[in-house]
Symmetry: C2
Subunit: 360 residues, 2 copies
C-alpha cells in the first residue's frame, strides 16, 4: 500500500474520565486499559501495516513532549502540533495539509488515540481494505457494527453494496445521523442498515483537501497560506498567523456530513470508545466477581465486592459493595454508582463554574 499514512488525532480532552483525565493529562495519555497509555497502544497496533515513518500524530503543545517520549520511533517531524485546540475539523485539515505537502499522493487513515480496539489484526485488515476503496475515489468511514441501541454515538446509514475488499463488504454511505434518541436508536439497530460512526476515516489527502476547499473555503484558504511554509524556517510564524483565522468546528460537521462519494465498511473489531468509566469497565479484565482493578495487586483487600471498578494506587479496601466506580488520584476521590458514570461530566462542569481550576 504505497503512500498510505496513519494520522492519529491525539489532541482531545474529554471530561468523563475525571478525576484521572485532566486538562494536562488527557485520557489518551493515561494507562487506562493496558499498562501503557491509550496513545501508545494506538501507535503500537498500527505495526506492521504502517512503518513508524508513515505514522503521524496531531496533538497540542501541552501533550507533544510526552507523546514523543512515548513513541520515539515516530520521526519528530511527524508530530503535527496545533498552537491550541480548534476541535477536530482544523486538526484533521492541518495534518492533511502537512502530509499532502510532503507526499501529494498520500492516502491517510484518520484514526483515534483514545479508543479501545480488541481485535487489532482485524483492525489492520479493515484499514488495508479501506485503502483500496479510497483509491477508487471514495471517502471511507469505518462503521462499528452496533451491539446495543446506543444514544451516545452518531450513526452511519448503509446504502447499496459497492464491492468486497480484503474480505470486507463495502457499502455506499447514505450519510450520518447525529446521536439519536432511544426509540430511533432501537429502530436503527433493528433495520440492520446502520453502524456507529467510529470517527475513523480513510481518504486520499487530495480528495480530503478538496472537500475542505468546497465546504470550508475559509479554513482551506488559511491552510493553503500555510502549506508552502511546511518544512521551512517560516513555518512556526506562519502557523501562528494562520491558526488565528481558522474557525472552531468538528470534522463531522466541517466536511463529513456534506461529503460526496462516501463508503462505509461495517466491522466488528471489539471497539469501545472508553467514553466513561462504565465503558472502560466493559473492556477490563475482571475477576470472577466482576471486579476490575488498576493498582498494585498486593495492596487491595476485597470482601464481598461485585461488579466494581477500582483505580487506586493506595491500599484500597472494599467491603460489601457492588456496581461502584471507585477512582482515587493524588488530589481527588470519586465514588460513583456505575449506571451514573455519565454524570461525571456534570461534576467537571460544576468544578469549572465554581472555579476549582486546580482539579480540572
Amino acid at each position: 500500500m504505497q503512500h498510505y499514512y496513519a494520522m492519529i488525532m491525539a489532541g482531545g480532552g474529554g471530561t468523563r474520565l475525571w478525576p484521572m483525565s485532566r486538562q494536562d493529562m488527557p485520557k489518551q495519555l493515561l494507562p487506562l486499559v493496558d499498562d501503557v497509555s491509550m496513545f501508545k497502544t494506538s501507535v503500537d497496533r498500527l505495526a506492521p501495516l504502517f512503518t513508524p515513518d508513515r505514522v503521524y500524530v496531531v496533538t497540542g503543545r501541552k501533550y507533544v513532549h510526552e507523546m514523543r517520549a512515548q513513541a520515539p520511533e515516530i520521526p519528530p517531524q511527524n508530530f503535527i502540533v496545533e498552537p491550541y485546540g480548534k476541535d477536530s475539523g482544523p486538526a484533521a485539515a492541518f495534518g492533511l495539509t502537512v502530509i499532502h505537502r510532503r507526499d501529494p499522493e498520500a492516502t491517510v487513515a484518520v484514526l483515534t488515540a483514545d479508543h479501545h480496539i480488541q481485535d487489532k489484526e482485524k483492525f489492520r485488515d479493515v484499514l488495508a481494505a479501506a485503502y483500496d476503496v479510497a483509491q477508487q475515489g471514495y471517502i471511507v468511514t469505518l462503521g462499528i457494527s452496533p451491539s446495543y441501541p446506543a444514544t451516545g454515538f452518531g450513526y452511519i446509514r448503509q446504502g447499496e453494496e459497492l464491492c468486497q475488499s480484503n474480505g470486507f463488504t463495502v457499502y455506499a454511505s447514505r450519510g450520518f445521523t447525529e446521536k439519536p434518541n432511544l426509540v430511533t436508536a432501537t429502530a436503527f439497530l433493528a433495520s440492520g442498515d446502520y453502524s456507529w460512526n467510529s470517527g475513523m476515516f480513510i481518504w486520499t489527502a487530495q480528495q480530503a483537501l478538496a472537500e475542505f476547499a468546497r465546504q470550508q473555503p475559509e479554513m482551506y484558504a488559511a491552510l493553503m497560506e500555510l502549506q508552502p511554509a511546511v518544512d521551512t524556517p517560516e513555518f512556526d510564524d506562519r502557523l501562528e498567523t494562520v491558526w488565528e483565522k481558522i474557525p472552531r468546528i468538528s470534522l463531522d460537521y466541517a466536511v463529513m456530513e456534506g461529503a460526496g462519494k462516501m463508503a462505509v465498511i461495517p466491522v466488528d473489531i471489539g471497539w469501545n470508545d472508553v467514553g466513561s468509566w462504565a465503558s472502560l469497565y466493559e473492556v477490563l479484565k475482571l475477576d470472577r466477581f466482576g471486579n476490575g482493578f488498576k493498582g498494585r495487586q498486593s495492596e487491595r483487600v476485597v470482601l464481598d465486592t461485585r461488579n466494581t471498578l477500582v483505580y487506586s494506587d493506595k491500599l484500597t479496601v472494599t467491603i460489601g459493595v457492588e456496581d461502584l466506580i471507585i477512582i482515587e488520584t493524588p488530589d481527588a476521590l470519586l465514588i460513583c454508582r456505575k449506571d451514573r458514570a455519565q454524570d461525571v461530566k456534570d461534576v467537571v462542569n460544576h468544578l469549572l463554574t465554581t472555579k476549582n481550576y486546580k482539579y480540572l
Copy 2:
C-alpha cells in the same frame, strides 16, 4: 466533693476505625466527632466538676507526648504512663496506686477517653451523684439506658433500689453479663432491668485497691512494691521491674465481675462508644440527606447521595450512592457498606497476618 479525681483511661487501641485509627494514632487521638480529639473532648467535659489538678490520664509511652500537648492544663505528673499495654486491669490498678499514694482519701471516677457523650451536663451530674454513693462504700458503675438490643456491649443487671442521689435513682447491681446474643439482649431490653456497661466506675481508691488485693493478689503485690517509689527518683526503674510481673487482664474480668457491694446508676447521657464507623455515623451532624462529612466543606461534590459517611481531606465526589462509609487517609482508602462496618476489624486482622505492618 473533696478528694474526687477523674482518671481517664487513654491507653487503648482498637481496630474498627481503621484506616484512620492506627497503632500510633489510636481512636482517642483523632478528631472523629469534633474538631478536637476525642481525648481532648473527654478532658474538656470534666470541667467544672474536676479542676485540672484532679484529672489523671493513664496512657502509654507512645501517646503521652501528644496528650500532654493537647491538655497542657493537666499537671505533668498526672499523666500515668504504662511502659507498655497490659489491658485495662493493670492500667486502672496502676493509676489507682499512684493516686492513692498521693491522696489516700481519693475517690476516683474511672472514665473513658474515646466515647461520645452528648449530654455533658448530665454526665457531670451523674458523676457527682456517684461520688456520694461511693462514699457509702459502693463501687458504682454508670449504666447506659439501652436504646436497642445491642450484642456488642456487656450488660449490668439492676437489683433493688438503694437510694436517690443528685436526682438519679441508684440500684444495687446484680452483676455483669458478657456480650449476649440477640435473643438474650432482646429479653434484657424488655425486662427493663438491664443497662449497658459503659466501662465507667466510681469508687474510693482504698476500696478499689482492696478489690485488687482480694481478687488479683499477684498484681496487687507488684503494685505495692511500686507504691512507695511514687514521686521518688526510683520510680521509673521500679516500674520497669514491677510491670513485668503483672498479668494482662481486663478491668471487668480482674475485679468488677467479682466485686462486692456494687451499685449501678442507669443514665441516658447520649452515650455512644464510637466503636465502629457505623457508630460514629450515629453521632455526627448529618445533612438533610443523612450524609455525614469530615473534611473541607468546599472540596466536596455530592450528587444523589444518602446516608453516607465521608471522611476525607481531598476533593471527594459521590454520585448516586447510599449507605456507604468512605474513609480516605494518606495511605489507605476504605469503601464499606454501612451495615458491614464491623468487618473492618477483619481487614486489620488480614493486614496483620499478611504482615502489612505499615498499615496497622
